[in-house]
């Protein structure tokens, strides 16, 4: 029996499981079910990776395309504080699995429903950060722009948007990390992603499942790192060196400069 029998943790077997998983990523091997079907290897994993990225990219793009204009508009006019600020917090409370299955149960399976569910996941962090950033633009700056004869929409586009970009980007990063991580369970809704070997465990075997888990972790960390670098690159020097150093913290109330940025 498991208890008592082998007390020593088989460290070697743990290593070999991870070794097998990594080998799966680079070398196609016979499926557990049928030696004639090859699974894994660079070409299949690349295909899944592309699908994963396309799905997540489309979702983040749509979520962002809705959230930024909405956040700027609401922020500029000082409206919708309750919605914008609570969106993130309530959004967190909805399990991603529930969000996905609600779309499956009520809309259906396939690329579009799953992508929309993920877009909905991307919306709150971007909306909240855009709203907060737009509110943080100093009134003097806005008044000066108005004094120069700019219209509201010009102020939003030429003053508030550029000044808000770093904070908005922080929101996009949160959204992207969440979406890329959640796209792992997209195969439940009939869309292939790096999660496919995890969901179709029988075909891909234990190595495939673990290999996919490693691949998807690396992808998420890479996306997070890349967006962090991009965020630093687009932050104007003045803001970076500013006397008031933006402090990072998480707050459900988000009445602060920088918001949730894992």
């Amino acid at each position: 029996m498991a208890k008592g029998g082998d007390v020593s943790i088989p460290l070697a077997s743990v290593f070999s499981e991870f070794g097998g998983a990594i080998e799966f990523l680079f070398k196609a091997q016979p499926s557990d079910l049928d030696p004639n079907t090859k699974v894994g290897g660079v070409s299949e994993m690349l295909g899944l990776l592309l699908n994963h990225v396309a799905l997540s990219g489309a979702a983040v793009a749509i979520g962002t395309a809705i959230a930024i204009p909405l956040g700027l508009y609401l922020g500029h006019h000082g409206k919708g504080e309750f919605a914008a600020i609570n969106a993130s917090n309530v959004g967190r409370a909805i399990p991603t699995l529930v969000l996905l299955t609600v779309f499956i149960a009520y809309i259906g399976v396939g690329f579009v429903p799953i992508m929309l569910a993920l877009a909905l996941l991307a919306l709150p962090p971007v909306l909240t950060n855009t709203w907060v950033a737009a509110r943080q633009v100093e009134r003097e700056t806005v008044d000066a722009a108005r004094g120069m004869g700019m219209t509201d929409s010009q102020i939003i586009q030429r003053v508030e948007l550029p000044l808000s970009l770093p904070t908005i980007f922080a929101g996009i990063r949160v959204a992207a990390v969440n979406v890329v991580a959640t796209a792992t369970i997209a195969p439940l809704g009939s869309v292939d992603s790096l999660g496919t070997p995890i969901i179709s465990g029988n075909v891909y075997g234990a190595d495939g499942r673990l290999g996919a888990a490693i691949a998807v972790s690396v992808l998420t960390l890479a996306v997070s790192g890349a967006l962090a670098a991009l965020q630093r690159a687009i932050t104007p020097k003045g803001l970076k060196m500013g006397a008031e150093k933006p402090r990072r913290r998480f707050s459900p109330n988000l009445r602060r400069r920088e918001t949730a940025t894992p």
Binding site: S13, V14, E17, F18, N89, R92, A93, I94, P95, T96, L97, V98, T101, V102, I104, A105, Y106, V177, V180, A181, T182, T184, I185, L188, G195, I198, R209, L210, A212, A213, I214, V216, S217, T220, L221, S224, R247, R248, R249, F250, S251, P252, N253, A260, P262
Partner: protein, 230 residues
């Protein structure tokens, strides 16, 4: 000996249940099947947030004293958070096996970042004047921490705790990948059945809201001076 019969019913589909619809009668009759998964979900959430809070709080105090620890600790908690939860549950399986222990380890690792970051920023945000005044009154470093710095950082600390809790409720819905049960298991058992999704999903959201409200209330009790600001 009784003559045994298994009732074979003629079904033509078309009932609310057979159509996987939203069926109030079915929900009323079947609430009991959600009791155990719900309690498992509460257990997973509360236990992992409690453990995670203790670990992250201790690490944050350590980093507060020894500043050089801050960057590595903060970076590692960020990396842990960056690993997708499904992947982490699976990565742990070869090491810790199936069951709630694996689920708890993964969930705890996700709470760390919220508590750690907020405790450290909260402590950093304590006005220098208050610290100096307390030192002037002859408080030791330990007294300074517990009587001045931590109380003044409470709003930040509670904010971190709230986010950690709501996030954990959501992530615990995936803990069934590690064989740890919870509402997620009930959801995936019949994920095309609208009534099932509505009840199991609704319970998860409700749990998050109630726990959030509970923490907020405790916060108000502990920080009466901040009540106006909330």
């Amino acid at each position: 000996m009784t003559l045994a019969q298994v009732q074979i019913q003629k079904r033509e589909g078309g009932t609310c249940e057979a159509n996987n619809g939203f069926c109030p009668d079915w929900i009323a009759d079947n609430l009991d099947r959600y009791v155990d998964p719900f309690l498992q979900h509460v257990f997973l959430t509360v236990t992992s947030v409690a453990i995670g809070f203790v670990i992250a709080f201790a690490l944050a105090l350590l980093a507060h004293r020894k500043r050089w620890l801050l960057p590595p600790l903060s970076a590692s908690s960020q990396i842990l958070y960056g690993i997708p939860s499904v992947a982490l549950f699976l990565l742990l399986l070869p090491i810790t096996g199936r069951g709630s222990v694996t689920g708890l380890i993964a969930l705890v690792s996700y709470t760390l970042i919220f508590v750690f970051v907020n405790v450290t920023t909260g402590l950093d945000g304590v006005p220098k004047d208050s610290v100096d005044a307390a030192r002037g009154m002859g408080l030791t470093e330990r007294q300074l921490l517990w009587r001045v710095e931590v109380p003044l950082a409470l709003p930040e600390i509670f904010a971190g705790l709230r986010i950690a809790t709501t996030t954990t409720v959501g992530l615990a819905a995936l803990a069934f990948f590690a064989g740890a049960g919870g509402l997620g298991e009930e959801i995936t058992r019949d994920k095309g059945f609208q009534s099932n999704i509505a009840v199991a999903g609704g319970l998860a959201v409700l749990l998050a809201l109630v726990l959030d409200l509970l923490i907020l209330s405790v916060q108000r009790l502990m920080t009466p001076w901040r009540r106006a600001a909330m």
